[in-house]
Amino acid sequence: MSDSTVAIPSSPHDAHGPELLHHFADAQQQRDSASLGMWIFLATEVMFFGGLFCAYLIYRLWYFGDFAAAAQTLNYKLGATNTAVLICSSLTVVFAVHAAQVGKRAMLIVSLILTLILGFAFLGIKAVEYTEKFELHHVPGPSFQFDNVRVPGHPDQLVNPRHAEIYFALYFIMTGLHALHMIIGIGIFTWLLITAWKGRYTPKYFTPVEIGGLYWHFVDIVWIYLFPLLYLIDLHK
């Protein structure tokens, strides 16, 4: 940006830190704008995932038995573990934001590192799950197989493999999109870690941590919807 080189007669720079971008009137406006911007972005993300949830809900209503059978081939224990992992990571994010707010650099850095570790754990568990699905030929496409499976609770009814394939297509697209957002989140938090290490965040300026935290919480909430919807269909049968 070229504006930082423009000479301004009496410099108001001294009254604020170097992070204040010059098109903002003051730091408060910058902070409020960043926050509102992130909330709006998250609203767009809700709509983005929303289309998928919509398709999933419709097909689950129509093909309930087939979907239940397909869902029960997932490892709900790993799924539950992942849910716990993400909830803990949201907790560490809360610690990070708080630490930034009160200027505790060490706590901030530790919290960010823990968040990253939990994020990687989530992705690792997902990788294990995906590998298992690949081995069972549950990945939609030419090699998909789902023959001779019974509908839970209806032992004399065979699952329609085409419907099961729709389940798995939605499963992979939804969890895949979610995982992509996790990867981006890890990228964001890595950058936050680096900049926190460099001492960039003070009680006066911690906006990136705050809005990064908002993003992470959102990704967590999406998973909290995905897990029961995808994994927990008719498990009692």
Binding site: H154, D156, Q157, L158, N160
Partner: protein, 320 residues
């Protein structure tokens, strides 16, 4: 029936024409009357809530009237009469295949007698098409995987355009044909020219060939439900739902039998997806329908032990 559509259209033309005239004249009048003159300032007028309310409520009222009228016309268009002659339509890239209940097959042409209701039961072999007869003011998309219904009542002999109205690929604009409305006598002559049996008889043959009668027996309780009198009636399913046995239900039962299992039966019916063509499905549907129809419908004969049912079954036979 086209008259109903045209009546509403003309009404709309008048209403919108008047509205356009009103606005245009007002605009021109104001533009001329209040053109800038030296020394004359504009008068600042904030607004007028009574005016806002008036010109919101009145248009809304007019709109609701148009909505109701349009809805009534639409309701009639989507409610085929009970005794309509049925014609099965299979659309494919890029032609229309039609089969009368009496068995005549046509390509890109439909011959019908004047004065008789015609109901089209349509499906597509590939992509979405749309069966459009501008002269009759009717149109209905034709979808793969299910039936859609359209009906009309021809009142004047003549030849009318048939167009495909949903883009379907290279020769979308070549997927056109004619609806030929004939005097009854001419139609009889035309009909007798093609020697083929009624569609439902063809369906009966397929029913036997594919072994359907092994399970769907009409004499004793078989492994599958007895199909006599089924068509058009409510059916209780094993999961508690009740559905109406319409064309789409019969079709689905053939191609995806596990989707709706009748209460009290096991889900042992194999699927015939890929083993029957659309035309064969149409014939089977026609056959099952014939098991619920009184004698004076074309192509119906009593099966052994069959009791033919009264003309208007209580459940109705409407298709959504």
């Amino acid at each position: 029936m086209a008259g109903n559509v045209d009546a509403l259209f003309i009404f709309l033309l008048i209403v919108t024409g008047l509205m356009t005239l009103l606005i245009f004249c007002t605009l021109i009048y104001f533009a001329a009357r209040y053109r800038a003159r030296p020394g004359v300032l504009a008068e600042q007028i904030e607004g007028s809530i009574p005016l806002e309310i008036t010109w919101s409520i009145i248009p809304l009222g007019v709109f609701m009237m148009i909505f109701l009228w349009g809805a009534v016309v639409y309701f009639k268009e989507r409610t085929p009469p009970r005794d309509a002659t049925e014609v099965y339509v299979v659309a494919k890239q890029w032609m229309w295949k039609l089969e009368h209940a009496e068995g005549q097959r046509e390509i890109n042409e439909l011959h019908v007698p004047v004065g008789r209701d015609v109901k089209l039961i349509m499906t597509s072999q590939d992509v979405i098409h749309s069966f459009y007869i501008p002269a009759f003011r009717i149109k209905q998309d034709v979808l793969p995987g299910r039936y859609t219904i359209e009906w009309f009542h021809p009142t004047k002999p003549g030849t009318y355009h048939l167009f495909c109205a949903e883009y379907c690929g290279t020769m979308h604009s070549g997927m056109i044909g004619d609806i030929v409305v004939m005097e009854p006598a001419q139609y009889e002559a035309w009909m007798s020219g093609t020697p083929s049996g009624p569609l439902s008889v063809a369906g009966e043959k397929i029913f036997a060939e594919l072994g359907c009668s092994t399970c769907h027996r009409s004499d004793t309780q078989g492994r599958g439900p007895n199909l006599l009198g089924v068509f058009g009636r409510p059916v209780q399913l094993e999961d508690g739902r009740t559905v109406t046995a319409d064309e789409n239900y019969i079709r689905e039962s053939i191609l995806d039998p596990g989707a709706k299992v009748v209460a009290g039966f096991k889900p042992v019916m194999p699927t015939f997806q890929g083993l029957v063509s659309e035309e064969q499905v149409n014939a089977l549907v026609a056959y099952v329908k014939s098991l619920s129809q009184p004698v004076n419908q074309p192509g119906v004969k009593a099966a052994p032990g069959q009791v033919l049912l009264p003309k208007n079954p209580p459940g109705g036979n409407q298709v959504q």
